[in-house]
Symmetry: C2
Subunit: 204 residues, 2 copies
DNA sequence: GAAAGCAGTTAATCCAGGTTAAGTGTAACT
DNA sequence: AGTTACACTTAACCTGGATTAACTGCTTTC
């Protein structure tokens, strides 16, 4: 594990290749193609990767770091739609697929190292290595499964319970997230989350 | 359009083939394989296709009709996660992919004609016709885009606005849905939706 | 064609969570 | 070192939507 991490520092593409090889084997030639297709990017904390209204150019794969994607409402409040840590993908899918203006913003919560690929780049990559359709299919299917579960949680549980589920499912993530971003993700105000967490005995 | 509909009555697989051919061409041989791989099913209104706790066996493709997928909370209330009409797919993805007990129920709201395929069936079909990975990838990616958008809506808008968005996006669907199912989908009680819709001037 | 259900309505009361505002602690820039 | 800025807390008050319950049609069923 430590060895893998330090590998990614020198060769960030290894992180992606590792992710893909969980699902399908890659030949050395294919690995070389992948390294060509993806560009590396380093972003600082608070740096913005995508602004609402722009046309999404890239899909992002997080090698190291932490991103958030959020929508801004009419009153200027943020609502976190998704986070992405090491090994996760992030993109405004609607804007990416249809090349329409994004409804979301993407921002780095921590300094992050990313791999990026443009939508045309991804499409031609899929032509060159059709096997990657399997990888991306499974990726989307798993994400879909997670979204369905999260919808059930949001529709049927109280804020307290939603918080509990989040801690259960992503214990490492919450430790890296400022409280206000957790609040925004589970759909309450930072004030209410604070009150909730400091309730006597944290009862109920 | 009318011609297509009547075709589906006699040959329900045409509906699926039509859906796939929007994305990739199929040879006559492949079409024959598809017809073998999918089984037809007819279900009556209120018939249950999947019960919470069961292991999901099938993915469902709706040829004609209307399904809903819902979670039941600790107090016995339903929460609609998704609907599916003609040409849409439906499944509890987590249960299907991991072969774990389902957290959702699937039920017919109208008499429906379906195509079903088991998970092993789908996997061997993908081996036989690898091109279908493209179809299923795009299917999941589009569904993902829709879920992201819906999350933004649910986190940032009021019930009134959520209702408005639903009408905007799926005007045909709401006409076929009993009000209580709309309420459950947008995350309010039937009582509140009724009050909301009958507010003087439907103001605000 | 009575009876039983079920979908929708109305209204009174209640509460989870929002809003506003002021305060504290700590990290970050000069 | 001092100031700014932001994360978090606390508390008073407010409100969108829940809960309960009673009532009004419609269907469905026998």
């Amino acid at each position: 594990m430590v060895i893998l991490l330090s590998l990614f520092l020198i060769m960030p593409h290894q992180s992606l290749i590792h992710s893909i090889e969980q699902i399908l084997p890659l030949t050395p030639g294919q690995k070389a193609i992948l390294k060509e297709a993806f560009h590396t990017a380093e972003v600082k904390k608070k740096e913005v990767l995508l602004k609402e209204g722009e046309i999404t150019k890239y899909s992002y794969f997080v090698v190291e770091g932490l991103l958030r994607m959020y929508a801004t409402d009419d009153n200027g409040f943020d609502h976190n739609i998704q986070f992405a840590i090491n090994g996760w993908w992030m993109s405004d899918m609607l804007s990416l697929l249809n090349q329409t203006p994004a409804s979301f913003n993407i921002e780095a919560i921590e300094d992050s190292r990313l791999l990026t690929i443009s939508q045309p780049g991804k499409e031609s990559l899929l032509q060159t290595i059709p096997g990657l359709n399997i990888y991306f299919r499974q990726l989307s299917e798993n994400a879909l499964a997670a979204y369905q579960q999260r919808f059930a949680i949001n529709l049927s549980l109280t804020a307290q319970e939603r918080y509990g589920k989040l801690c259960e499912r992503y214990p490492l993530l919450i430790q890296r997230l400022p409280q206000k971003h957790i609040a925004s993700y589970i759909g309450v105000t930072p004030e209410f989350l604070s009150k909730m967490l400091n309730r006597p005995f944290n009862s109920k």
